[in-house]
């Protein structure tokens, strides 16, 4: 099997949770290298938990997760970063006392030789960050922090970017901005797997949507098909 036919991420029957209790009860997920995947579902469905399981932050008790065909379940996060994964947590996603630039530098911690080049790219991508590069990240607004957080993850030049509710708590203006940026990052060849509360908007940019409920897949389809599905709309998208 040539590497081009392997999906970027292939999760099969993933069971996992915190301290013996499973929150995920057999989740399947496949994403190709150039796709945007969006995980939606009600509160407590295990959306963020699934993302954390992919990033090794939580124990996978059963099933497997393959990155480019290689099993990665239960590897520590720093090794996953080395293998091309980037993770942006929903909360506490910046280093508040470090300057914006230092935050970004930390993203390229494993590739110090790339810092200069990637800094230029990230600043080009998020111009407001360049103006605030010497300011402590803790002093920025929510939307700008989200940019710092995404910029930090991009500094490592990931092939897969995991975003946990990137628009949570943001004003509609910033929300659109973040969705636009996600599309652009994807257009540059980075696979995206994100959890979103703003399900309709997120599914609109999704190649694949995964509707989870009670730690299991309820619907898997393209983003457009899920949006058009009356069952999905009725149960999960608020009519």
């Amino acid at each position: 099997m040539s590497s081009t036919t392997r999906p970027l991420i292939d999760a099969r029957d993933v069971h996992g949770g915190y301290g013996g209790m499973n929150i995920l009860n057999g989740v399947n997920m496949t994403l190709e290298a150039d796709e945007v995947g969006v995980i939606v579902g009600p509160n407590g469905a295990g959306k963020s938990t699934m993302l954390k399981a992919v990033f090794g932050l939580l124990r996978v008790n059963q099933g497997e997760i393959l990155l480019n065909g290689q099993p990665i379940q239960n590897l520590p996060p720093n090794q996953l970063v080395q293998r091309g994964m980037g993770f942006v947590p929903q909360e506490k996603n910046v280093f508040p006392s470090l300057s914006v630039q230092e935050n970004l530098e930390m993203g390229a911690f494993l590739k110090p030789q790339n810092v200069k080049r990637m800094l230029a790219q990230v600043y080009e991508f998020f111009p407001p960050l360049y103006e605030k590069r010497r300011q402590p990240a803790g002093e920025l607004s929510g939307g700008q922090r989200q940019m710092v957080a995404m910029g930090r993850a991009l500094m490592a030049e990931p092939s897969l970017l995991l975003l946990d509710e990137p628009t949570a708590g943001l004003s509609p203006l910033y929300m659109n901005e973040i969705f636009d940026r996600v599309k652009q990052i994807n257009a540059a060849g980075v696979g995206i797997l994100m959890v979103e509360q703003n399900a309709k908007q997120a599914l609109a940019i999704a190649d694949k949507g995964f509707v989870l409920a009670a730690g299991q897949n309820r619907f898997n389809d393209t983003g457009a098909a899920l949006l058009a599905d009356p069952d999905v709309a009725k149960s999960f998208l608020g009519g």
Partner: protein, 334 residues
């Protein structure tokens, strides 16, 4: 003018001496707290260990320093720093790492560090004996007397050679630490881990490396503080242990987890101590003619007696915890 010299000797110099030692000790305590989130009570005995290593090396090669014109003990300091850094990493691997791996609460680590302090103190006592020993084995402690440039000034300012080394080395250590934390990749990663350990890990920072580097720095700084203290007075196995309270007071006054705060806190506590035990009668006596006749100056006009010096950092500690629990600089509330 003799009063001025007396003031400089007993407050400015003495305060700077204790301040520098508290500051270097407190930086170590605060760095360990910011990375591992526990109060490391064995820090003072790591200081003693560093000084003891210097004593051993100096006893082995007493004449080594004379050839380049520095006290042998100062020459041996870098080596002792390395040894103490190794000890700190070893202690972490043996005692604290297994506890962390079990995910224990910080208080368990604190109690563990009390155990380590007893072990270290006992071991050092076993080999060094309980008496005081000078770190000046083969060379002489220089004492400089600087006359004040005023007429009628007879009393000189007295400063000793180890005190000058203390000031210079403290300054070097602080500048080096500042550059490390703000310019180097590892130093920034250390600050990042102190800010947000989960995100540091998610950025690919190997947190085990950062923990080891923290112990190395804390150990090296402890060796500096212990050695310079023992140079100034004499080496005793329990000398540094009695500095534990002022050092923790300094770290908390400055804001726990804040290295610059620890420096400021060290000097605040050091000067508060010397100002509190200073006999103010000396400064007021020249003005006794202009004071009302009914006011007779007592011969000893200090806030507390020298033997109660230890209450000063304790008082500052309580005051800070009541009125400004995050410290002068904004640190983490314990």
């Amino acid at each position: 003018m003799n009063e001025l010299a007396f003031f400089i000797n007993n407050v400015v110099i003495a305060g700077s001496v204790s301040g520098s030692i508290y500051a270097i000790g407190a930086i170590g305590v605060t760095l360990i707290f910011s990375i591992m989130r526990f109060a490391h009570f064995a820090h003072a005995d790591m200081m003693t260990f560093g000084a003891f290593m210097v004593l051993l090396l100096t006893t082995l090669f007493p004449a080594a320093g004379a050839s380049i014109g520095v006290p042998t003990a100062v020459l041996m300091l870098p080596l002792a720093m390395l040894l103490t850094a190794a000890l700190a990493v070893g202690i972490d691997k043996t005692f604290y790492k297994p506890l962390r791996a079990h995910g224990v609460k910080p208080i368990v680590l604190v109690i563990g560090s009390l155990g380590v302090t007893l072990i270290l103190q006992g071991l050092i006592r076993l080999f060094s004996g309980t008496g005081g020993q000078s770190l000046y084995v083969d060379d002489r402690k220089e004492i400089f007397r600087l006359a004040l440039p005023f007429e009628g000034a007879r009393a000189p300012i007295v400063i000793t050679e180890p005190q000058i080394y203390l000031f210079v080395i403290t300054l070097l250590a602080v500048v080096a630490l500042h550059l490390f934390l703000n310019r180097s990749r590892l130093g920034k990663a250390m600050r990042a881990m102190s800010d947000n350990p989960e995100l540091a890990q998610a950025s690919g920072i190997n947190t085990n490396t950062i923990v080891a580097v923290t112990w190395m720095i804390a150990g090296a700084l402890a060796a500096i503080a212990g050695t310079l203290l023992s140079l100034d007075v004499t080496f005793k196995p329990d000398l540094s242990f009695f500095l534990l309270l002022p050092i923790f007071a300094a770290a908390i006054v400055g804001g726990v987890g804040h290295p610059y705060g620890a420096i400021a806190g060290g000097f605040v506590v050091g000067f508060a101590e010397t100002l509190a035990v200073f006999n103010w009668n000396v400064l007021l006596r020249p003005f006794s003619d202009s004071l009302p006749a009914w006011l007779e100056l007592p011969s000893n006009l200090a806030f507390v007696g020298t033997e109660y010096k230890i209450v000063v950092p304790f008082f500052i500690l309580v005051a800070i915890l009541v009125w400004r629990p995050t410290g002068l600089f904004k640190g983490k509330v314990i």
